[in-house]
Subunit: 351 residues, 2 copies
């Protein structure tokens, strides 16, 4: 297996990206995996020397061009096509790797992935699926790409999220819910109302109805389907709450011997508690619906978060997530066609 | 001052509502306030006897009809118009009280308030403003009433939220932000883009640009303006995160002497920590833009939350929030008219 790593994108690149690769290399999931590092050769060797990293097993593809957060997403197709992010996508599309991991500009990664790596047949629009820990890990999809999706996109998000949670988390029949402003069927805007109707009919998923914001944290579903606008605001709200909590929690155990002693007494449990609210614990966000695996790690990823994103990419390849989604989409399209044919036939007979 | 209290609506009515009134009665802010309790006389006396509450200073208006969460919002205008919620609105409109506090059906309360109590001039649509604690208290408006508002409604939400935070929290120039999926001006759907342009022009507020989900928790603004769909999902996500955190936190200090000792050592700080994440700490949600104060307490309010909602209603009346919003809306309308006149004049001259 070959995993392409964009080591130049992200707030802490290339240091944290490379420290992440180093972390990943030490784990058993890296057995039989070759990492292809895309970035400035000099910066890579300098960082490796400074941090005493043994990257000798990795291949390096040189480029000193970086696509930044301020670049227009379309730059990936134009003047920044040979940036680490752009080259990574091209190599992925050309079959030089099985997956790409990048902390880069989400818009550029999504646009480039759609135009260069391309979607699988039957998927009308790729979706960004973020894995959130909380009560139990669940996927929020779409978490930012499609600000105004249509209901067919939403059905695709539901099916892709379901396939992912089954393949990677081993959940037999993932509970798919529609993120909405109430539990009743008629809730939401036209988009939610029309999506609800289509999800209810869909026999390829286990649709459990609407989920409200509080249900997300409390474990009400394994897949939450959303438009990208609401999904993005929700994802970042959860991140912000996690950060605030972590900060405030530190304050509790600070100051004086009492706080320190209390900390020592509950240290183990505190660590577990933190993990529940740490969004980087389960890796990055997936761009699902593509012909190859693309993992978008958080822009501010540290080594641990980046290593988790790498692990996630390896898992996706090992579990054939792309093929499962493609097969699912193809079967769904077939069933839809069949249903339409039958409807047309019965109409003809009625005439 | 007279505050009308719907004691029959809510998951824990009438017990927690009445316990809340009892709590409020013991606070200094209740000096000179008469509470009018609307509900089943028998149930009120029974609860008062059971919990040894002295409600002798309260007026009681009898009705045994209750508008439930399952009722259609329009029921408040029809067969449930004499429910505790409906009667409360009618009495408020008739000038029999200065404010209404209810845990009832949000849709019915909003619809009834708009149709019976009516909006002030210049406000096109009332908005539900929820006060959230977190880094510092801020208002999220609209948090549920207008699933698909237009940009003029959004501008109204911004101005009302700003007026509230200034009057009640004493913030000199509240930072008003637009809840969006990114910080850049062009982000969001057409609604956010058009609203951004209008808020930027508005000289009556201190517009600080877009706020993302994480900024909410981290104190980026005093007023977050949102469509009611996203606002509702965000509000409930924050509530859910607070609940999950509170639950998990308990787990840390449970089990064994170590946990108990740790708890005793940091008890005071833990209490403060919890307050930061307890959405009931600052009362209920306000329905702003009406000719009278209406406070919507959470459906699941306990006595403490209900008392906080009562305190909030008293504050609103004391600080003339309704008048301030009305004056602000009138001035804004005047300025708009003036600007339109000038534009028309300069056009005429140009001809």
């Amino acid at each position: 297996m070959k995993i392409i790593i964009d080591v130049m994108s992200g707030d802490n690149a290339p240091v944290e990206n490379l420290l992440g690769v180093d972390k990943a290399l030490k784990q058993s999931y890296s057995d039989g995996v070759t990492y292809i590092l895309i970035g400035d050769e000099k910066a890579i060797s300098k960082t490796a020397a400074e941090h005493k990293l043994d990257l000798s097993g990795c291949e390096i593809k040189h480029t000193d061009l970086v696509l930044t957060m301020d670049d227009d997403p379309m730059a990936v197709m134009k003047d920044k096509k040979n940036s680490s992010l752009g080259l990574g996508l091209q190599m992925l599309a050309a079959g030089e790797g099985d997956a790409l991991v990048s902390c880069g500009n989400t818009g550029a990664l999504f646009t480039g992935a759609t135009l260069i790596v391309k979607r699988v047949k039957g998927i009308q629009r790729a979706g960004i699926g973020a894995i959130l820990p909380l009560t139990a890990p669940f996927m929020l999809i779409d978490s930012g790409a499609s600000v105004k999706p249509n209901e067919d996109y939403m059905v695709g998000f539901a099916m892709m999220g379901s396939a992912y949670m089954k393949a990677i988390y081993g959940i037999d029949s993932p509970r798919v819910a529609l993120l909405n402003n109430g539990s009743e069927e008629h809730k939401g805007t036209e988009l939610q109302q029309n999506t609800y109707a289509k999800l209810k009919e869909n026999k390829r998923i286990n649709f459990v109805g609407n989920v409200e914001g509080n249900g997300l944290a409390l474990g009400a579903c394994d897949v939450a389907v959303s438009d990208g606008f609401t999904g993005n605001v929700t994802l970042k709200t959860i991140e912000g709450m996690g950060k605030l909590m972590s900060k405030e929690l530190k304050g509790i155990f600070k100051g004086g011997l009492g706080g320190m002693l209390a900390y020592l007494l509950v240290r183990g449990k505190l660590k577990k508690f933190r993990k529940k609210f740490d969004v980087s614990e389960h890796g990055g966000a997936l761009i699902l619906g593509l012909s190859k695996t693309v993992v978008k790690a958080h822009g501010s990823s540290d080594a641990k978060a980046f290593a988790n994103a790498i692990r996630q990419a390896v898992s996706c390849v090992n579990k054939n997530v792309v093929d499962i989604i493609a097969a699912d989409a193809a079967k769904y399209a077939e069933e839809k066609l069949e249903a339409e044919k039958k409807a047309a036939e019965s109409e003809t007979r009625a005439e």
